[in-house]
Assembly symmetry: C2
Homo-oligomer: 415 residues x 2
Amino acid sequence: MTEQNPTANMENFSRSVREALAITQRGCEELLLTADWLRKLARAEASGQPLRIKLGLDPTAPDIHLGHTVVLTKLRQLQDLGHTVIFLIGDFTARIGDPSGRNTTRPPLTAEQVKENAETYREQAYKVLDPDKTELRYNSQWSEHLGARGLIELAAHYTVARMMERNDFHARFTAGHSISVHEFIYPLLQGYDSVALKSDLELGGTDQKFNLLMGRHLQQEYGQEPQCILTMPLLEGLDGVDKMSKSKGNYIGITENANTMFAKILSISDDLMWRWYTLLSMRPLHEIDDFKRQVAAGRNPKEIKVLLAREITTRYHSGAAADEAAHDFELRSRGGVPENIPEIQLPCPTEGLGIGLVLKQTGLAPSTKEANRLIAGGGVRLNSETISDRALILAPGSYVLQVGKRRFARVLLKV
Amino acid sequence: MTEQNPTANMENFSRSVREALAITQRGCEELLLTADWLRKLARAEASGQPLRIKLGLDPTAPDIHLGHTVVLTKLRQLQDLGHTVIFLIGDFTARIGDPSGRNTTRPPLTAEQVKENAETYREQAYKVLDPDKTELRYNSQWSEHLGARGLIELAAHYTVARMMERNDFHARFTAGHSISVHEFIYPLLQGYDSVALKSDLELGGTDQKFNLLMGRHLQQEYGQEPQCILTMPLLEGLDGVDKMSKSKGNYIGITENANTMFAKILSISDDLMWRWYTLLSMRPLHEIDDFKRQVAAGRNPKEIKVLLAREITTRYHSGAAADEAAHDFELRSRGGVPENIPEIQLPCPTEGLGIGLVLKQTGLAPSTKEANRLIAGGGVRLNSETISDRALILAPGSYVLQVGKRRFARVLLKV
């Protein structure tokens, strides 16, 4: 098997096929082989038969962050072209755990845990994916049935020398760190999933390239048309330096609340923003190019960043939650006080006015009784500080009063 | 696991245990660990519980020669000490064949072929082994049941680095020759057989040492007392130089006829004779030492070689067949004529005597008619040449006449 990437003669393909290729390649690290993928796209267009796009998932870590959604975003873009995503839960090996028993932090999962994790993952992934174009599969369906015999036959399709070419195996072997023989079996099983699923394309992170190529190799060994592989880069985290990860703390979990998500996105650098646009946004590339031109011509990049934050927050929450989060963000960026709040001037004795009366006279409360109730409930803020003393006397001066989340007034108590 | 062989304190063990150790070690290449084996022997003696001694067999080549019987001979010696031999047919992997499909000369065997080969092997092996102390087992009984999951768990108990220490893997890897991943699984399965059988000792050729140690390792991993391993050297063939093998033509098949077997043994050198005595004879070592002393004192070593040939021929055929073969050998070594045959003098006209009359007059045939029948049947030899012409006239002179296999006479036809 040679893994050259010959230049396909693009003129042989329709405009829509070439556009589909561009969408596939957007932000990607590597597509192998481009020519094969073009042929598959053209065949799908001619036959109306969608292509089968595989994403393998380890059901052990269901809580995903934006870094994980780079691949999901790509899958959604391909679904929007009409293709089918196979969301493959690697339950077979997860239920074995670490069979060497040396890694006690990786106990085998029960069938129930796997199912639960897979459901949690699916729930989260369906914020990005189109459920109608997604198949959920479990690889125990075919891996178990291989039996000892089938597994040996599978292992006959790959050499030790090629296995040792995998970066981590090579490094560990060279460093004298132990590799258990069963670790050679896992990539074979992952590759066999592609055979069982007859996949046309498999997605993964750059670090998965070896395993993705295994699927390609095994499909050929089993007499199938080999899948293409598409590797996506790892997303830089909030700091713009390290890859997004929980342990670095530079991540946005997709279940984080809308306000936090929105604000975190607004915190990234302009450079990182363009990167995230490429990898996380569903906006077509030409729109993003427009944005770049506008910024070059003087538009405040923050406005573009707000659009990204709105898009992503809408995806994981809702349009309303994104609006609310945008409002909240603006509010907090001005010390918590919105622009354009009503200004109300009240005559005030030199000894000052009671807070209840002020609330009533400004219309923030219908009565002093209601005002007292609001104060007792912690619903009243004076210059951004919650007050609890309903007997509080305000001396003449200027105040910002807030009732509940959204009702504000600037009050001038004038002697 | 350390594979040191600490000197056991022999004084702690009974005389019979120490003798059993000597029998075990007779002619062996290596016994690991001697101390463990002594403990097992002592325990067996104390409990009356026989030890379990494993010999794994590939059911693909049922036609065995004396070289293969070195190990069988050792097993028989151990059976004579009271222990149980487990004759293990490796049918599981034999029925997979070469799953890479690259070696078309090694197709998978059917269950029937395996059974048939195993039966043939057993029939041959029972010429050496004591059937009452032999269990015949097939490893598919437990290998199949491992399933894909069990096989992965098994493979987790061994590292790639240690696998690469196996001589042939190391050599092939270094030379850039391909090793398929499934080849790493076979030694694990062979080792797992020891776990399934709870074996106390495994025998094999020196070239099998790696696989024998695997059994020891896996038993420890599965919480069992590890087996000892006993490697036996490969037997030198008839030429005394190369190892006995069919392809070298320097072998004695155990199904070869008694006369051929006997004669081939008599053809070996005196040096090789002592080697074969050690490895193939059931005679106790002190008897063999006696023989050596006798030869040193002037006894013809051929007499000792005849005893070996008789022992081995008796084993694979019978005492009577060995007698017959000894006779035949002597006969042929004297041009086919036994010593001490009757000498008969007959008066003879100068023109000679007809063969039929000679046969009748010497008493080798009851009548000339019967003499003619014998000649027609090819049953009469004259000076070792079969004759067919019943009208043959013998001129005066001396002749050796033979009728059938055993009746001889030296005839002097005197004018």
